[in-house]
Symmetry: C2
Protein backbone atom coordinates (compact mmCIF):
# COMPACT_ATOMS: atom_id res chain seq x y z
CA UNK A 1 0.00 0.00 0.00
CA UNK A 2 1.25 3.41 -0.80
CA UNK A 3 1.61 5.40 2.41
CA UNK A 4 1.76 9.11 1.86
CA UNK A 5 3.12 10.90 -1.18
CA UNK A 6 6.14 9.33 -2.75
CA UNK A 7 9.29 11.37 -2.76
CA UNK A 8 10.46 12.45 -6.19
CA UNK A 9 13.99 11.15 -6.17
CA UNK A 10 15.81 8.14 -7.49
CA UNK A 11 14.72 4.87 -5.93
CA UNK A 12 17.80 3.47 -4.26
CA UNK A 13 16.78 -0.17 -3.93
CA UNK A 14 17.64 -1.67 -7.30
CA UNK A 15 14.91 -4.26 -7.13
CA UNK A 16 12.19 -1.78 -6.30
CA UNK A 17 13.51 0.52 -8.97
CA UNK A 18 13.24 -2.20 -11.59
CA UNK A 19 9.68 -3.07 -10.59
CA UNK A 20 8.66 0.55 -10.50
CA UNK A 21 10.31 1.20 -13.84
CA UNK A 22 8.43 -1.63 -15.52
CA UNK A 23 5.07 -0.55 -14.14
CA UNK A 24 5.51 3.13 -14.77
CA UNK A 25 6.86 2.57 -18.24
CA UNK A 26 3.86 0.49 -19.20
CA UNK A 27 1.48 3.06 -17.81
CA UNK A 28 3.30 5.86 -19.59
CA UNK A 29 3.07 4.02 -22.89
CA UNK A 30 -0.60 3.33 -22.33
CA UNK A 31 -1.32 6.95 -21.51
CA UNK A 32 0.62 8.10 -24.54
CA UNK A 33 -1.52 5.79 -26.64
CA UNK A 34 -4.73 6.97 -24.95
CA UNK A 35 -3.82 10.59 -25.56
CA UNK A 36 -3.08 10.00 -29.21
CA UNK A 37 -6.40 8.24 -29.77
CA UNK A 38 -8.77 10.15 -27.54
CA UNK A 39 -7.43 13.56 -28.46
CA UNK A 40 -6.36 12.90 -32.02
CA UNK A 41 -2.79 13.85 -31.18
CA UNK A 42 0.54 12.63 -32.42
CA UNK A 43 2.79 11.31 -29.74
CA UNK A 44 6.28 9.90 -29.74
CA UNK A 45 7.86 8.51 -26.63
CA UNK A 46 11.24 6.93 -26.10
CA UNK A 47 12.48 5.51 -22.84
CA UNK A 48 15.92 4.24 -21.91
CA UNK A 49 16.21 2.22 -18.75
CA UNK A 50 19.29 2.80 -16.63
CA UNK A 51 20.51 -0.55 -17.90
CA UNK A 52 20.36 0.66 -21.49
CA UNK A 53 17.23 -1.06 -22.69
CA UNK A 54 15.15 0.98 -25.08
CA UNK A 55 11.39 1.18 -25.30
CA UNK A 56 9.36 3.43 -27.48
CA UNK A 57 5.95 4.31 -28.65
CA UNK A 58 4.85 6.47 -31.52
CA UNK A 59 1.43 7.15 -32.89
CA UNK A 60 0.82 6.36 -36.49
CA UNK A 61 1.56 9.68 -38.11
CA UNK A 62 4.71 10.11 -36.06
CA UNK A 63 5.91 6.67 -37.07
CA UNK A 64 6.18 8.06 -40.56
CA UNK A 65 8.07 11.09 -39.37
CA UNK A 66 10.51 8.93 -37.46
CA UNK A 67 10.86 6.73 -40.50
CA UNK A 68 11.45 9.81 -42.62
CA UNK A 69 14.01 11.02 -40.14
CA UNK A 70 15.94 7.81 -40.43
CA UNK A 71 15.74 7.87 -44.21
CA UNK A 72 16.81 11.47 -44.20
CA UNK A 73 19.91 10.75 -42.16
CA UNK A 74 20.81 7.80 -44.33
CA UNK A 75 20.38 9.88 -47.45
CA UNK A 76 22.54 12.63 -46.02
CA UNK A 77 25.27 10.22 -45.02
CA UNK A 78 25.30 8.61 -48.43
CA UNK A 79 25.24 12.02 -50.07
CA UNK A 80 28.29 13.09 -48.13
CA UNK A 81 30.12 9.94 -49.07
CA UNK A 82 29.18 10.19 -52.71
CA UNK A 83 30.18 13.82 -53.03
CA UNK A 84 33.47 13.20 -51.33
CA UNK A 85 34.21 10.32 -53.62
CA UNK A 86 33.27 12.31 -56.68
CA UNK A 87 35.45 15.17 -55.57
CA UNK A 88 38.34 12.82 -55.01
CA UNK A 89 37.95 11.33 -58.46
CA UNK A 90 37.77 14.75 -60.05
CA UNK A 91 40.87 15.91 -58.20
CA UNK A 92 42.77 12.85 -59.28
CA UNK A 93 41.71 13.43 -62.82
CA UNK A 94 42.96 16.97 -62.38
CA UNK A 95 46.33 15.65 -61.39
CA UNK A 96 46.53 13.49 -64.48
CA UNK A 97 45.53 16.37 -66.68
CA UNK A 98 48.09 18.64 -65.09
CA UNK A 99 50.82 16.09 -65.64
CA UNK A 100 49.76 15.72 -69.21
CA UNK A 101 49.91 19.46 -69.73
CA UNK A 102 53.22 19.63 -68.00
CA UNK A 103 54.65 16.97 -70.25
CA UNK A 104 53.32 18.81 -73.28
CA UNK A 105 54.67 22.24 -72.47
CA UNK A 106 57.95 20.77 -71.34
CA UNK A 107 60.00 21.30 -68.23
CA UNK A 108 60.82 24.91 -67.17
CA UNK A 109 57.38 26.21 -67.95
CA UNK A 110 55.33 26.78 -64.85
CA UNK A 111 52.31 25.11 -66.31
CA UNK A 112 48.73 26.26 -66.14
CA UNK A 113 47.56 27.82 -62.94
CA UNK A 114 43.96 27.35 -62.15
CA UNK A 115 42.70 28.86 -58.94
CA UNK A 116 39.85 26.77 -57.62
CA UNK A 117 38.50 29.68 -55.62
CA UNK A 118 38.02 31.88 -58.66
CA UNK A 119 36.70 29.27 -61.03
CA UNK A 120 33.24 29.46 -59.61
CA UNK A 121 30.71 28.52 -62.21
CA UNK A 122 27.72 30.36 -63.43
CA UNK A 123 26.25 32.80 -60.97
CA UNK A 124 22.69 31.63 -61.37
CA UNK A 125 22.58 29.22 -58.47
CA UNK A 126 24.61 31.07 -55.92
CA UNK A 127 21.74 30.92 -53.46
CA UNK A 128 22.27 27.23 -52.97
CA UNK A 129 25.54 27.76 -51.24
CA UNK A 130 24.58 29.72 -48.18
CA UNK A 131 25.54 28.11 -44.92
CA UNK A 132 22.75 27.84 -42.39
CA UNK A 133 24.16 27.08 -38.99
CA UNK A 134 20.96 27.45 -37.03
CA UNK A 135 20.05 24.29 -35.23
CA UNK A 136 17.17 22.54 -36.83
CA UNK A 137 15.75 19.10 -37.00
CA UNK A 138 13.64 19.09 -40.06
CA UNK A 139 13.06 18.91 -43.72
CA UNK A 140 13.79 22.40 -44.93
CA UNK A 141 15.94 21.06 -47.76
CA UNK A 142 14.16 17.86 -48.57
CA UNK A 143 13.39 18.75 -52.16
CA UNK A 144 17.05 18.92 -53.03
CA UNK A 145 17.68 15.61 -51.36
CA UNK A 146 14.87 13.73 -52.98
CA UNK A 147 12.91 12.81 -49.89
CA UNK A 148 9.91 11.28 -51.54
CA UNK A 149 7.25 11.60 -48.91
CA UNK A 150 6.06 15.09 -48.06
CA UNK A 151 6.69 15.91 -44.44
CA UNK A 152 6.36 18.70 -41.97
CA UNK A 153 9.01 21.00 -40.60
CA UNK A 154 9.67 19.71 -37.14
CA UNK A 155 11.27 22.14 -34.76
CA UNK A 156 12.00 20.52 -31.45
CA UNK A 157 11.98 22.88 -28.55
CA UNK A 158 14.17 21.46 -25.83
CA UNK A 159 12.32 23.22 -23.04
CA UNK A 160 10.17 21.00 -20.88
CA UNK A 161 6.57 22.11 -20.97
Amino acid sequence: MVRGKIELKKIENANRLQVSFTNRRKVLMKKANDLSILCDADVALIVFSNTGDVYNFSSRRLKRIISDLQSFQTILLNQVETSRLQEKIALEENQLLRKQIESMVGRGSSGPQVDPESSSSDENDKEDHHSDTSLQLGWGKRKKLKIERPAITLEVQVSSD
Copy 2:
Protein backbone atom coordinates in the same frame (compact mmCIF):
# COMPACT_ATOMS: atom_id res chain seq x y z
CA MET B 1 -17.86 12.56 -12.52
CA VAL B 2 -16.57 9.75 -14.65
CA ARG B 3 -19.29 7.19 -15.20
CA GLY B 4 -18.00 3.86 -16.38
CA LYS B 5 -14.85 3.21 -18.38
CA ILE B 6 -14.20 5.69 -21.09
CA GLU B 7 -14.25 4.41 -24.62
CA LEU B 8 -10.90 4.50 -26.40
CA LYS B 9 -11.82 6.50 -29.45
CA LYS B 10 -11.49 10.04 -30.60
CA ILE B 11 -13.51 12.51 -28.57
CA GLU B 12 -15.92 14.09 -31.00
CA ASN B 13 -16.84 17.24 -29.09
CA ALA B 14 -14.05 19.66 -29.93
CA ASN B 15 -14.29 21.49 -26.66
CA ARG B 16 -14.12 18.37 -24.55
CA LEU B 17 -11.29 17.10 -26.69
CA GLN B 18 -9.29 20.24 -26.06
CA VAL B 19 -9.83 20.07 -22.30
CA SER B 20 -9.00 16.41 -22.20
CA PHE B 21 -5.92 16.96 -24.32
CA THR B 22 -4.58 19.61 -22.00
CA ASN B 23 -5.13 17.53 -18.88
CA ARG B 24 -3.81 14.32 -20.30
CA ARG B 25 -0.81 15.97 -21.84
CA LYS B 26 0.16 17.54 -18.53
CA VAL B 27 -0.23 14.23 -16.74
CA LEU B 28 1.77 12.44 -19.39
CA MET B 29 4.58 14.96 -19.10
CA LYS B 30 4.55 14.68 -15.33
CA LYS B 31 4.67 10.91 -15.46
CA ALA B 32 7.49 11.01 -17.94
CA ASN B 33 9.37 13.25 -15.57
CA ASP B 34 8.56 11.03 -12.58
CA LEU B 35 9.77 7.96 -14.42
CA SER B 36 13.02 9.59 -15.40
CA ILE B 37 13.76 10.70 -11.85
CA LEU B 38 12.42 7.82 -9.78
CA CYS B 39 13.82 5.11 -12.03
CA ASP B 40 16.92 6.86 -13.29
CA ALA B 41 15.73 6.51 -16.86
CA ASP B 42 16.07 8.71 -19.90
CA VAL B 43 12.82 9.76 -21.44
CA ALA B 44 11.92 11.85 -24.44
CA LEU B 45 8.35 12.73 -25.26
CA ILE B 46 6.94 14.80 -28.04
CA VAL B 47 3.27 15.59 -28.51
CA PHE B 48 1.52 17.30 -31.38
CA SER B 49 -2.01 18.49 -30.79
CA ASN B 50 -4.43 18.07 -33.65
CA THR B 51 -4.14 21.82 -34.15
CA GLY B 52 -0.41 21.53 -34.73
CA ASP B 53 0.90 22.77 -31.42
CA VAL B 54 4.01 21.01 -30.20
CA TYR B 55 4.89 20.06 -26.66
CA ASN B 56 7.81 18.04 -25.51
CA PHE B 57 9.71 16.76 -22.58
CA SER B 58 13.12 15.22 -22.40
CA SER B 59 15.17 14.17 -19.43
CA ARG B 60 18.57 15.69 -18.98
CA ARG B 61 20.74 13.15 -20.72
CA LEU B 62 18.35 12.91 -23.64
CA LYS B 63 18.35 16.68 -23.96
CA ARG B 64 21.97 16.31 -24.93
CA ILE B 65 21.21 13.56 -27.37
CA ILE B 66 18.49 15.64 -28.98
CA SER B 67 20.86 18.56 -29.06
CA ASP B 68 23.49 16.33 -30.62
CA LEU B 69 20.96 15.10 -33.12
CA GLN B 70 20.22 18.63 -34.18
CA SER B 71 23.91 19.46 -34.41
CA PHE B 72 24.48 16.27 -36.33
CA GLN B 73 21.85 17.12 -38.90
CA THR B 74 23.18 20.63 -39.29
CA ILE B 75 26.68 19.31 -39.73
CA LEU B 76 25.48 16.79 -42.28
CA LEU B 77 23.59 19.41 -44.23
CA ASN B 78 26.59 21.70 -44.30
CA GLN B 79 28.82 18.79 -45.18
CA VAL B 80 26.61 17.92 -48.12
CA GLU B 81 26.72 21.50 -49.35
CA THR B 82 30.44 21.78 -48.92
CA SER B 83 31.19 18.49 -50.61
CA ARG B 84 28.97 19.32 -53.53
CA LEU B 85 30.64 22.68 -53.95
CA GLN B 86 34.09 21.14 -53.77
CA GLU B 87 33.09 18.56 -56.33
CA LYS B 88 31.73 21.25 -58.60
CA ILE B 89 34.93 23.28 -58.33
CA ALA B 90 37.06 20.27 -59.10
CA LEU B 91 34.97 19.40 -62.13
CA GLU B 92 35.17 22.96 -63.42
CA GLU B 93 38.88 22.94 -62.99
CA ASN B 94 38.85 19.76 -65.01
CA GLN B 95 37.02 21.52 -67.79
CA LEU B 96 39.55 24.33 -67.86
CA LEU B 97 42.44 21.92 -67.93
CA ARG B 98 40.84 19.94 -70.72
CA LYS B 99 40.34 23.05 -72.78
CA GLN B 100 43.89 24.08 -72.19
CA ILE B 101 45.12 20.70 -73.36
CA GLU B 102 42.84 20.83 -76.33
CA SER B 103 44.17 24.23 -77.34
CA MET B 104 47.72 22.95 -76.95
CA VAL B 105 47.39 19.77 -78.97
CA GLY B 106 45.36 21.52 -81.58
CA ARG B 107 42.15 20.54 -83.30
CA GLY B 108 41.89 17.02 -84.77
CA SER B 109 43.55 15.32 -81.85
CA SER B 110 41.13 13.52 -79.60
CA GLY B 111 42.70 14.85 -76.46
CA PRO B 112 43.53 13.01 -73.31
CA GLN B 113 41.10 10.39 -72.10
CA VAL B 114 41.00 9.88 -68.42
CA ASP B 115 38.63 7.32 -67.07
CA PRO B 116 37.36 8.45 -63.69
CA GLU B 117 36.43 4.92 -62.69
CA SER B 118 39.97 3.62 -63.04
CA SER B 119 41.80 6.55 -61.53
CA SER B 120 41.15 5.44 -58.03
CA SER B 121 43.84 6.70 -55.71
CA ASP B 122 45.85 4.89 -53.14
CA GLU B 123 44.20 1.76 -51.86
CA ASN B 124 44.82 2.42 -48.21
CA ASP B 125 41.50 4.04 -47.39
CA LYS B 126 39.17 2.03 -49.54
CA GLU B 127 37.08 1.11 -46.53
CA ASP B 128 35.80 4.63 -46.26
CA HIS B 129 33.76 4.30 -49.40
CA HIS B 130 31.34 1.55 -48.64
CA SER B 131 27.71 2.52 -48.91
CA ASP B 132 25.58 1.54 -45.95
CA THR B 133 21.94 1.74 -46.90
CA SER B 134 20.53 0.24 -43.71
CA LEU B 135 18.27 2.64 -41.91
CA GLN B 136 19.90 4.04 -38.84
CA LEU B 137 19.54 7.01 -36.63
CA GLY B 138 22.83 7.24 -34.91
CA TRP B 139 26.37 8.26 -34.64
CA GLY B 140 28.25 5.47 -36.34
CA LYS B 141 30.27 7.91 -38.39
CA ARG B 142 30.62 10.79 -36.03
CA LYS B 143 34.39 10.74 -35.92
CA LYS B 144 34.64 11.56 -39.58
CA LEU B 145 32.16 14.35 -39.18
CA LYS B 146 33.76 15.93 -36.17
CA ILE B 147 30.93 15.59 -33.72
CA GLU B 148 32.67 16.82 -30.65
CA ARG B 149 30.67 15.26 -27.87
CA PRO B 150 30.80 11.49 -27.52
CA ALA B 151 27.38 9.98 -27.89
CA ILE B 152 25.64 6.66 -28.01
CA THR B 153 24.42 4.69 -30.98
CA LEU B 154 20.70 5.16 -30.96
CA GLU B 155 18.68 2.60 -32.84
CA VAL B 156 15.02 3.45 -32.80
CA GLN B 157 12.72 0.49 -33.03
CA VAL B 158 9.45 1.64 -34.48
CA SER B 159 7.41 -1.11 -32.88
CA SER B 160 5.12 0.01 -30.07
CA ASP B 161 5.99 -1.88 -26.93
